[in-house]
Structure formats: C-alpha cells, structure tokens
C-alpha cells in the first residue's frame, strides 16, 4: 500500500508541477477514438470554499484539441502497443500544433481494465478532543484494505463520508469535537498491466504521465449536473469497446464498473449481418442507425456500396428497419448488462435513480426510449458541460470523458494519498525528518 501511496503522490506532484507551468494535456484513450486536449491554466483559482464564475471551471482554457481514430485499443485496453503509440503521437502532435505549445505532462484516462469497486470502512479513536488533519490521515490508513488480488492496482481511493461519533455524512470533519472518527472510502482497482501499458505508451511519446483516471468516473463528473451528483445518479458512458458506468452520490463516486461491450460490437454485428466491411458498417451505423423501427423505416432503403467488382454484391440495398433489427438486440444486450451491474451495486436503494447516458454510443436515435424500458424511467441523454475554449467539434457526448478529465485536472477530488501519511506509520523516519528540518531551517 505504501508503494502505491508513493507512486500516486508522485503523480499528484507532477500534476501540480504541470499546473504550475500552466500547460497540461488530457488524453482520452478510447477504443474508437483517441482525443487529446491541451489545457492552459491561468492560475486564477477562486478562493477556497467559494464558487467562482462557471462554478469554478474558469481557471483553465482548452487551447488545443485533436482526435484521431484509435488503433490497437480493444475493450478500452491497449492491445497493440506500437499502434496505440502512433495514435497517441498523432493526437498529441495535432493538439500541440493547434495550441502552439509543447506539452510535457499528460493526464490519461481509459475505460477498460476491469475496474472493480470496493467500499472501505475505517474507525479510530481521536487523540485530542478536536479532529485534526492527522486524525483524518489516521482514519484513512485505518481502513481495512480488502485483498483485491495480485496484479491489480488502485486507481482511485476517495473518502466519501466521515462520521464523528454518531453523526454521519460529514464532508470535512476537521476542527469538530468528538471521540471516534469513522470514514467510508471508495476504492477502484484496475488491472496493473493495463496501467503499465498505458504508462509505457505515454513514455514512448516523450511525455510524463501526471495522472490516471477511470473514464466512467470522469464522464460522470462532466455530464452529471450538480443535483444529480448530490442526490444519486448513474452515468453510463457508452464507448466503442466498453461501456463504463459510475454511480454518484453526495458528489462522490461510490461505484464504478465497466461492461466489455460497446459500439464496436454493434458495428461488427452490422458488418456480419449485412456482409459489408467494418468501415462501411460504421458509416451505415452513424448515418442510419437507430433502435426503434417505424413503418417509414421499411421504405427507407440504404445502399450498401462495395468495391468487390461483383455488380450484384456492390449494388445491394437494405431497409433501415433491417438495420435497426440488427442493432437493437445488441444495444439491448448492452443495456441489460448495465442493468445487471446496477442491480448488483444496489442502485435501486438510492434516493434518486437518475440515469444519464453519455459517450459516443448514446447518440443512437431512440436510445433514451429503449433505455428507459430497461433501466428505469429516469433516463436522459447527457452531454458534457461546456468548458472554456472547447471547439464545437469536441462538445458532443463522445467527449464526455475528455471534458471530465479537464474538470478532474482543474478540481481533483481528495484522494487518500492527498493526506499526509500518519506520523505513526514512519517512526524510523522521524529522526531523519528532524535532521531535515534542522537542515532546512539553518
């Protein structure tokens, strides 16, 4: 746990350094596209505890944005390193060119690598009468960490709740009087190999990885509005290779998961069903796709063009109803899988059960109607919130996780490693600290 603490702290420090320098890149490594945004921080942070203009999102500006077709990424995980590296290079170079600035630090997010969610609880007796920062650190490190398995790595570990004696639901217990401090922590682990692959790819591009996030989490940050985050809601990020879902409550993520199904599966279904190449299938899906067939759709014929040279094969047509007939079962399957994950997470116990669909896959016409049949009544389509300087082309729901990363970079939530390690964890170092203190001050 200590190494993780150190590595995450190193990343956090790097992010701080990058923000000090003013430029940081956002990299969304998805299965269908790789997006890169370059952010410039003005340093005009609003005073703490106060909501500035644009709810505090005015501190940065997007000065470069580029998207490229993803290659070598499947199910949100890197599969072909060289190809992925080339794709990242393309996106970063184009974004740098637009920004006219060289970026050295990058914050990346990915959707795959089997995220698993754990709820942790910890409890300590207070040393004094008043909760200090040291007590918060102690209670965080008192959380009993489950055996999350070999080869997994902690991606997020966020304290979501503090309880002091019998008062629960505290956001910030510091300075309050009490005897026992308890906390609930939400921890997300992912496959360590996927993280290492991503880090390696980023390093091969001469960039420094200054942070990693789960894309389901950052999409939720970007596309859920404030009361949805407060009252309880789920964000479903329908990507190309995987569909991430994150549940938010009291402005904290309390659950994250991913379904290894996505828009690429719909495309491959179309490709197989209609006997067309994948690119054509993708094109047909984006132009004519849908999930609810009407009588009009029987009459709307779609040309399936090909260049095989066989006249009969190249001049086929298919009705839109047929296309919908191919797409709908797969979309239903994805949504049912999501439903199963939400049920497993106990989503029905939340006070509000708002579901927000975002990601590129949520642009299928009629999806909200289908989703409300499967997921529940309160379904809406979400778009990421507007941030400063974002090009019009990057405001669609497909960029929810990229935009969420901007907010994540500008206003990160407290993670476990943001608190100092409690003093009793390193007694051997206290002498060294004393020496260091003397050295620093004399």
């Amino acid at each position: 746990m200590i190494e993780l603490y150190e590595s995450q702290r190193a990343m956090r420090n790097m992010r701080k350094a990058a923000m000090q320098r003013g430029v940081v890149a956002i990299l969304d490594v998805g299965s269908s596209k790789i997006a890169c945004l370059v952010l410039r921080f003005d340093g005009a942070e609003p005073a703490s505890g106060e909501v500035g203009s644009l709810a505090g999102q005015a501190g940065f500006r997007v000065i470069g944005a580029a998207t490229t077709r993803s290659r070598g990424v499947r199910f949100g995980e890197i599969e072909a390193m060289v190809e992925t590296e080339r794709a990242i290079r393309t996106a970063v170079q184009a974004a740098q060119k637009m920004a006219q600035v060289r970026v050295d630090h990058v914050i990346a997010c990915f959707s795959g690598a089997e995220p698993r969610s754990y709820g942790l609880a910890g409890e300590v007796d207070l040393e004094g009468a008043v909760v200090t920062e040291q007590d918060v650190s102690r209670v965080l490190s008192a959380c009993d960490v489950p055996d999350y398995g070999h080869g997994r790595e902690v991606l997020h570990a966020q304290p979501v709740n503090f309880a002091l004696d019998h008062r629960s639901g505290l956001i910030d217990p510091r300075g309050q009087m009490g005897l026992r401090l308890a906390t609930d922590m939400h921890m997300v682990t992912v496959d360590a190999v996927a993280v290492q692959n991503l880090a390696h790819c980023v390093r091969r591009c001469d960039l420094e990885l200054a942070g990693i996030a789960n894309s389901a989490y950052v999409s939720g940050v970007a596309s859920l509005v404030e009361d949805e985050q407060e009252l309880g809601s789920a964000c479903i990020d329908m990507g190309g290779g995987s569909t991430g879902l994150s549940i938010f409550m009291k402005k904290h993520m309390i659950y994250a998961d991913a379904v290894r199904l996505g828009g690429d599966h719909v495309t491959s279904d179309i490709s197989m069903g209609l006997q067309v190449p994948l690119t054509t299938a993708e094109r047909i899906k984006t132009f004519y796709g849908g999930v609810v067939a009407t009588g009009m759709d029987d009459r709307e014929m779609i040309d399936l063009e090909g260049d095989t040279g066989d006249w009969e094969h190249d001049r086929r047509t298919v009705s839109r109803a047929e296309l919908i007939g191919i797409m709908r079962p797969r979309v239903e399957e994805i949504l049912e899988e999501v439903r199963a994950r939400l049920d497993a997470a106990g989503f029905e116990h939340l006070p509000s059960q708002q579901i927000v669909l975002t990601g590129g896959g949520s642009q299928i016409p009629g999806l909200d109607g289908l989703a409300s049949k499967i997921l529940g009544q309160q379904v809406r389509l979400g778009r990421p919130m507007r941030v400063h300087g974002l090009p019009q082309a990057a405001t669609g729901p497909g960029f929810a996780s990229a935009v969420g990363m901007c907010l994540f970079a500008a206003h990160p939530q407290d993670e476990w490693w943001d608190f100092e390690l409690p003093v009793d964890r390193y007694p051997a170092r206290s002498l060294r600290r004393a020496v260091k203190w003397f050295k620093d001050n004399w």
Partner: protein, 292 residues
C-alpha cells in the same frame, strides 16, 4: 493477426507522424530552441561569415573604400555645399576679425562644418556678446552677431580702455568718447554695473562729475571737480550718494570749500575741509569767542 511490420496501405489510412517527426515537432515548439534557431543561428552564421570575409586585408580595404566613396559622394552633393559666408550685426573691424578666425575655404560641404566650434570661436572674440551660426538656404553660412556695447571708459596704468556692462574690455577707443563715464582704479572693470548705477544716481552732479575711482578693489570714490571726493561705503553706495546729494541740495554742501565727504561709516558722515577753509573757520570761531 495484424502484420507486425507496419503496412504501407494501413499507414495511408491512419497517418501518424514518425517518432522522429514527432520529436522534431516537439523540439520546434520548445521556446528556447525556437529562439536559438531564429536568433542564435542567423547571428552566428552572420558573425562567422563576416569574420571570414573581413579576415582578408584587401577585402576589408575595398569595403572601407567603398563606404568612404559613398560618404564623399553624398557629402559633395550640391544641396549640401556651402558657398559663402554672411555676417550680420557686426561692425567693420569685428567683421574682419570674424572672417579671420573662421578658417573655411569655400565651397565646403555642410557635413564638414562644425557650427558649434565656429560659434565658440566667434564668441571667444572680446567684441562679440553672442553669436548664432547656421546654414541658410542657398548654401550660405549665416553668422548673426550681437556686439558688445562699451558703457564706460576705464583708465588704468597702461592707458584708456573701453569696457562694456559685463566688464569685458573692448580695447582702446578709436576716438574720444566724452559721452561715456570714466572709471579708474584697479579692479574697476569688475564692478562696472555698480559704477553705472552710481553714475546714474549722480545725475544731479553730472556737470561736476569727473569720474569714479575704485578704491582698494572694494569701494568707490566719486571724484568731482575742484578735487572734491565723495567716499562711498562698500555696502549700499548708491543710497550713500543719494544722501550726499540731498545734503548738498539742502545746505549747498558741495559748493563749499571742502575736500571730501566721507560716507564710509553710515552712522557718521564726515567732511574734510581745505586748510584755508579750516583756518578761516577757526578765525571766525575766535572772532565769535572774542566778541563774547
């Protein structure tokens, strides 16, 4: 399975910058490198090129010669040539002096004329109070001179001299100047303005005034005819003189037989009488006493 080697056709669909192209692009976006290439490299190249070119003596000479030729070409253009000199406001003698001390051979380029130096030379003449030198349209060196005006005659050991209000000597008078007041004594030229004020104050005595004498380089004596003197103090000599004039007007003092009126001590004006007058005065006192 995808081919391990990148396929040319795939590369066409998914263009990606090569690793080196990417690094080169990033290098170009580095501010320090940009500055180096855009400023440092041209500067160094120019420096090296220039050094190599000018390391040869003949080339250096050729370049310097070309520059000199060009300069001369421009300097000798007719619009920059000065043809003649005009002196305004100077009397005949001063005019000649100016033409003597300005050693210019016309025609000359206006670039070669140091107007300030010429002006300094002209102002250096005693007879010139101020001068302005400029080049007028039509290639004329225009010198405007304000001459010094003599205000007093100064008699000293070597003879008479004209002196202007600032005490600058203007040489011997060419004719007799009865209109100018006469001053004498060592250091009299240093206090010409005071002398002028005293002379102005002595206007009621103008018919009897012979001149002023500077005594001990610190105070003035007013010399009248019949050898009479009015000794003025160092401080406020004009007021002292006015007192004497008032006294004289009231009691006809200066018309009497006295040698000097001593005003050096303000509290105690003194008069010195002639020997004869003194004896007469004694006699008169004795007569007065005798009758008693």
């Amino acid at each position: 399975m995808q081919p391990v080697k990148s396929d040319k056709r795939v590369a066409k669909h998914d263009p990606a910058p090569s690793r080196w192209a990417y690094r080169w692009h990033r290098l170009w976006l580095t501010p320090l490198f940009r500055t180096f290439v855009r400023v440092g490299v041209p500067f160094t190249a120019a420096l090296i090129g220039g050094t190599v070119y000018f390391s040869d003596e003949t080339r250096r000479d050729a370049v310097l010669l070309a520059i000199a030729d060009l300069r001369a070409d421009i300097h000798t253009r007719p619009e920059f040539m000065v043809q003649l000199m005009a002196v305004d406001g100077a009397s005949e003698g001063v005019n000649e002096d100016i033409r003597d001390i300005v050693p210019v051979d016309f025609p000359i380029s206006s670039f070669d004329l140091d107007l300030e130096m010429i002006r300094q030379d002209i102002v250096g003449l005693n007879a010139v109070k101020e001068a302005s030198v400029r080049i007028r349209n039509g290639g004329v060196l225009q010198i405007d001179v304000v001459e010094r005006r003599p205000v007093v005659l100064w008699r000293h050991r070597d003879g008479l001299e004209l002196v202007d209000a600032e005490g600058v000597s203007l040489g011997l008078p060419e004719e007799s100047r009865p209109d100018l007041p006469l001053i004498a004594g060592d250091g009299a030229d240093q206090a010409v303005d005071e002398a002028l004020r005293i002379v102005a104050a002595a206007r009621p005595l103008a018919s009897r005034l012979r001149g002023l004498v500077r005594m001990g380089e610190r105070r003035w004596d007013v010399v009248l005819d019949r050898g009479q003197r009015i000794m003025l103090p160092e401080q406020e000599p004009v007021q002292a003189l006015e007192r004497v004039i008032v006294l004289s007007a009231a009691q006809d003092m200066l018309a009497r037989d006295l040698v000097a009126v001593d005003m050096r001590l303000k509290q105690r004006p003194t008069i010195r009488m002639n020997q004869g007058a003194l004896e007469n005065w004694w006699k008169i006192r004795e007569i007065a006493v005798g009758t008693d």
